[in-house]
């Protein structure tokens, strides 16, 4: 029950219209989540309640389970245990409120579609099965492309776009979803400096519009500049909360140095017992 009460504060404070449409609850709350691949645990005992209307960075070393965390929230990866709630209700109830930007490398960019076709995919949940993409959905997709500065490339086959442009197309697809909560898997990986700035500006824009955005991020140097909240992850949540509170040397050492420490201890133990 504590999960339901804690986030009330923010929803009421901000006075957002959401409180009326949905039970007053955190956008995302995770209870006791454990995920395992073939008996090897990837995520352990994840407990988390997200704030609303913040840009939240998910940070951690390679293999820390960052992508798995957002995939498990969206039910793309089965959980071994635990429960995820979106605004206090099961994910399946509020699927339309969630937008997703997968890793750019996860798809084949030689696929025979153009940029506008990809963005229109963001409307497919809305359009429903067996229906065609109507004029109005095309217009909405075009507007989303325009928002990421890619309107001129709408008819370009996606393999002819640069990496940064492909990433923008993926973002436009998420914008076309018109969600309340966004999960973005490394949207800044492998993009040039100009695109990175444009994407960050766009994310700030989303936050201003009351959206909650989770971003898997790998560049520690920019973390403090970009994100108001953080999740420091390494199989379990090392720390989470406002960036100025949790982005500390000690937390980083716990997140990134854990493996090194273990190695050190192991080598010391070996040195003591060896020869």
């Amino acid at each position: 029950m504590k999960k339901m009460l804690f986030p009330l504060r923010r929803t009421i404070d901000s006075g957002e219209g959401l409180g009326a449409e949905h039970p007053a609850s955190a956008p995302v709350s995770i209870d006791d989540m454990t995920v395992a691949y073939h008996r090897r645990p990837v995520l352990w005992d994840i407990e988390y309640d997200s704030p609303e209307g913040e840009l939240i960075g998910i940070v951690g070393p390679n293999g820390a389970g960052k992508s798995t965390l957002i995939k498990a929230i969206m039910d793309l990866v089965p959980m071994a245990a635990g429960r995820v709630r979106i605004y206090g209700e099961p994910y399946t109830r509020h699927r339309r409120l969630v937008g997703y930007v997968p890793q750019r490398e996860s798809v084949d960019w030689d696929f025979p579609v153009n940029a506008l076709d990809v963005v229109a995919m963001g409307r497919y949940g809305e359009i429903g099965w067996c229906r065609r993409v109507s004029r109005s959905h095309k217009d909405a997709s075009m507007a989303a492309l325009d928002r990421v500065g890619m309107a001129d490339y709408a008819r370009r086959q996606i393999s002819q776009l640069s990496g940064g442009q492909q990433q923008r197309v993926f973002l436009a697809r998420a914008l076309a979803q018109d969600a309340k909560i966004y999960f973005m898997d490394e949207p800044l990986a492998g993009v040039d400096a100009a695109t990175e700035q444009a994407i960050i500006a766009l994310l700030q824009d989303l936050i201003t519009g009351g959206k909650t955005v989770f971003v898997v991020h790998h560049d520690l140097q920019t973390v403090a500049d970009y994100f108001s909240h953080l999740i420091l992850l390494n199989m379990r949540i090392v720390a989470s909360g406002p960036t100025r509170e949790v982005f500390t040397e000690e937390n980083l050492r716990k997140t990134y140095g854990g493996k090194l420490q273990l190695l050190d201890e192991a080598s010391q133990a070996l040195a003591r017992g060896g020869i």
Partner: protein, 472 residues
């Protein structure tokens, strides 16, 4: 002695006057159409080889169905019964692949190989048992392996038509669902779509076309109808809907031509050499594939060669114009106040020495530029820019230097914009950015028309150019 069939026979077959031919040709074409449609999605889902597993996995089902029907007292020759057996074991084979892949760490190719060979081996064993126990009328079963298009019946065509219609209808209805599933299954899953269910549906359509097509093409070659048409279609288009239609057309056309050719056997020493229809169809499909691979307008090899060739020719010509121009104006800026140069000439030997071109290549480039009226040859192995050539060269030099400045200043931001072959840098970077670049350079060098070269010219400035020819 090889003898072609007489003309009236050819005509009667081509006009589909013969009832049997008509049946066979229509059936085969519909089969090719359905295979081309569902095959496109399988290819894009990177599951092309899955259909090979399914078709091979039908063999034990056919054998078991025969055994069961014989044991039940029938002849074991009921086609519906055999096909139901094929359907069941094909589905089991597909399920085995999905199960093993999901539950073990084996890679997909290994799983496909294991399931395909195990099922086909089992099928061959059962076939041999049937023959050895001398159940007599088992001979027809072999036709499922290699196909027997020519003996297609009207009822077979009826079933093929239904299957092709269902497949085409489902693919039309679920066009956007299959498109997203093939492109980005994680995103499809995030929308709440049951990815496994959709995969199963797609596979189900493949099982259907495979079982229906077994008799016609045979289980070994049916994969050709599912892979070759979409692979060929991809060379012609960048758009999924067009790819589907082209693939359906190539599938239908190769089946039509293949079955016709097989119905027109040449005679060797008076004996008819009837070609197996399944194999003939594959030969025609392969011809379509080869033509598409070379001439395809989207990805074809010829298009690539032409693009590469014309790009390198254009770059060579621009390079030569630049050499002529820069040899006279050097690396310092050309100012507005400078008089238009009247003589911009260089001897052939200088051009040859200061470039990487062979004598023949240089000859070709010079000839092409002369045809365009950019240069002229007043004699004495001298080559001069014409007035139009001077204008072109000035533009080329300006573009080139702006690109160099752009790279120096903005390369960390957007290096992918650089396109030396563009006629106008503005077309790529936009007027605004180019005006900005120009402004930056103007402020450093007032009166600048052509930005200064940011690096020393490799073949020296005007003063060191070996000669300045005269031209009127």
């Amino acid at each position: 002695m090889l003898e072609w069939p007489p003309w009236d026979e050819v005509a009667s077959i081509l006009m589909l006057r013969d009832y049997n031919t008509r049946i066979v040709v229509i059936g085969a074409s519909l089969l090719g159409l359905g295979g081309g449609v569902i095959g496109t999605f399988m290819l894009l889902r990177k599951r092309a080889l899955m259909s090979d597993v399914i078709s091979h996995a039908t063999l034990p089902g056919i054998g078991f169905a025969f055994l069961i029907m014989t044991a039940a007292g029938g002849t074991g020759k009921s086609l519906a019964g055999l096909l139901i057996g094929a359907l069941i074991s094909g589905t089991i084979g597909m399920g085995a692949v999905l199960l093993i892949r999901a539950q073990t760490r084996l890679k997909e190719d290994a799983v496909l190989g294991v399931v395909l060979s195990v099922f086909f081996g089992l099928g061959v064993v059962i076939m041999r048992i049937i023959q050895n126990t001398d159940m007599g009328h088992a001979a027809g079963l072999e036709s499922f392996i290699y196909g027997k298009t020519a003996s297609m019946l009207a009822s077979d065509v009826y079933w093929i038509a239904i299957a092709a219609a269902i497949i085409t209808a489902i693919c039309a209805l679920l066009y956007k669902e299959f498109e997203l599933l093939c492109f980005d299954q994680d995103f499809a899953g995030s929308l709440g779509w049951r990815v496994h269910l959709m995969d199963a549906m797609m596979m189900g359509l493949v099982v259907a076309i495979t079982v229906i097509g077994l008799q016609a093409v045979g289980l070994i070659l049916i994969i050709a109808l599912l892979i070759i048409p979409p692979a060929a279609a991809r060379f012609w288009t960048h758009h999924l809907l067009q790819m589907l239609m082209i693939s359906a057309f190539i599938g239908a056309a190769s089946c039509l031509l293949g079955s016709l050719a097989s119905a027109l056997p040449p005679r060797l020493n008076g004996e008819s050499m009837r070609l197996p229809a399944g194999a003939t169809i594959v030969v025609f499909a392969a011809a379509f594939f080869l033509v598409s691979m070379v001439f395809g307008t989207a990805h074809g090899m010829l298009r690539r060669w032409i693009e590469r060739f014309s790009l390198s020719r254009k770059i060579s010509q621009q390079h030569l114009l630049r050499m002529l121009y820069e040899a006279h104006h050097g690396e310092t800026a050309q100012r507005v106040s400078d008089p238009t140069p009247l003589s911009v000439c260089l001897p052939r030997d200088f051009l040859l020495e200061n470039s990487t071109w062979s004598s023949g290549q240089l000859h070709g480039i010079l000839a092409a530029l002369r045809r365009k009226g950019e240069i002229k040859e007043p004699g004495g192995n001298m080559f001069c820019l014409t007035e139009s050539g001077i204008r072109t060269a000035a533009r080329v030099v300006r573009n080139h230097r702006l690109w160099e400045v752009y790279l120096v200043r903005y390369a960390d931001i957007a290096p992918f914009h650089v396109d030396y072959s563009a006629d106008q840098i503005e077309h790529v970077l936009g007027d605004e950015l180019v005006a900005g670049l120009d402004r930056v350079l103007q402020s450093d060098h007032p009166g600048l028309v052509i930005p200064e070269s940011p690096h020393p010219l490799p073949y020296g400035a005007a003063s060191s150019a070996p000669t300045v020819g005269t031209s009127s």
